[in-house]
């Protein structure tokens, strides 16, 4: 791992520690700073796990409400970001298992079976200088990949998103998900196998 990345992480960790200490001391504005700092990764993670912008926003808000209520009990035993991701994963899991979420998905599918997921996450590509044909092809591949990821079981999807999208290490995955190292690796391998079989024909 690059030294610059490690330095940045350490700096981030120090910043978080200061913000949390200020919040515990009664400075509410430090909570706002934490929200502004982490709102994008939290929302992104929720969106990629739940695959629905509406639910992702709701879930992300819920995560920060939980953080607000539980931050005073944060012991600095782990990095704040790791703790935060753990809260996100658990909140997404609860949301995904909630009856309301499942019924809504079912009703939407029964109503419009061809429409896919309601408010489904449609990935956008970074602006490149590709030709329109190439851009279209890439867009199709990306959409297929995202759909394949969404079709994975929640635990595998969570690991794929954290590892491939968020760039977390195996150690961090262990800390966030609570699985053992071997479990994390095997689940990731199985998820990739499934993705490969689903994307056969799309990615040669």
């Amino acid at each position: 791992m690059n030294e610059s990345i490690i330095k940045k992480q350490l700096n981030d960790s120090d910043d978080d520690r200061q913000l949390i200490s200020r919040f515990i001391a009664g400075d509410i504005r430090s909570f706002d700073e934490l929200v502004l700092k982490y709102q994008d990764p939290v929302y992104r993670l929720c969106l990629q796990i739940l695959g629905n912008s509406h639910d992702a926003e709701d879930c992300a808000q819920e995560v920060f409400i939980k953080v607000y209520h539980n931050l005073k009990s944060f012991k600095f035993e782990a990095k704040f970001s790791t703790w935060l991701y753990r809260v996100v994963v658990n909140t997404c899991k609860n949301k995904n298992n909630s009856l309301e979420f499942r019924l809504r998905k079912l009703y939407y599918w029964l109503d419009k079976p061809e429409a896919g997921i309601e408010n489904a996450y449609l990935p956008e590509l970074k602006s490149n200088i590709d030709s329109p044909a190439q851009a279209f092809e890439r867009q199709e591949v990306t959409r297929a990949i995202c759909e394949a990821i969404q079709s994975l079981p929640l635990d595998q999807k969570t690991l794929i998103v954290l590892f491939d999208f968020e760039g977390k290490t195996y150690t961090e995955l262990v800390a966030i998900t609570g699985y053992k190292m071997g479990t994390v690796k095997s689940k990731l391998a199985r998820a990739r196998e499934k993705l490969r079989s689903k994307l056969e024909g799309v990615i040669d």
Binding site: Y43, R44, S53, E57, T142
Partner: protein, 313 residues
Amino acid sequence: MSKLKCSECQALVVDYIKDQIDSVAKQNISRHINECEQCHSYCRFMQVYLQSIADIEAPTAPAGFLNKVHGRLEKQRSILVQYFLLSKQFILKGAGVLTLVLCLILLLNNQQRLSSLEKQSPQPLETITDLNQDASEQAVESAPNVSLSPTAESSKPKTVPKPALTIDTNKVQNELTYRLVVGTEAVANNALESQAKHPLPLINRRIKQPEPEAEIMEESLSGESEVAAGRLQFLSNSIAKQVTVFKGEILGQNDHDVNIVRIRIKIPKVNLNSFLTELKTLGELQGELIDQGSIDNASDYQVLNLELQINRT
């Protein structure tokens, strides 16, 4: 240099693509990928897959996300406050109702206790004499030779001993006196009925008991006299019941004489008329009422002297 297995190679492919492994491992993987078609295809897939993911624009949180979080926190806080206020209000209301109920229970309890005390223990004679002290003293002084015998008292162990009643209707003021004169026919008829209803009247028990005046009583208690005495006893019992019904109190009773029963009672003035009406309409009473006193205006109670006697003419 050890040869890699396919599973080991595939596990390291991502790190190989991201260039996050040391040079030795990198060389091993490169060699394996070049030799193994399956791992080569897997590596190719992972390269496209990771490149596609890297090309995705990272979505950002919607605008005003922080405000929405604050809005939800505020909403939660207000709900909590409302809940707290509601629960506080509920507790206060509950406490109020409970207090009211407790007060009512205490009040009822007190009333019941007072009424039971009034019923169980009649007011001592001294209290009554306080009310009409002069009149009572005069009455006692001029009392005829009538007194309750000790055996008669002992025959009623459960009742409170009644003081010997001495009444001089001419001298006692603020008291009403009624003489109930009962005809012999009515006495005979009603007494028979009452004897049928009450097979063992009090008078019979009294006859069987050895008393100091037993000889005199035995002489008089024969035939009609016996029936009359039973009748008087029955009437006095009926009057006693009515006194209880009208919340009055028997201050004393003299049933020593078999021909005359004197009952001194205290009755609330509000119930006086009803009580008198009830006496008149009492089935067994067929006598006349003679008013010989006046109403006591100073007290809420009126003392009545009732004389039950048989008309032997």
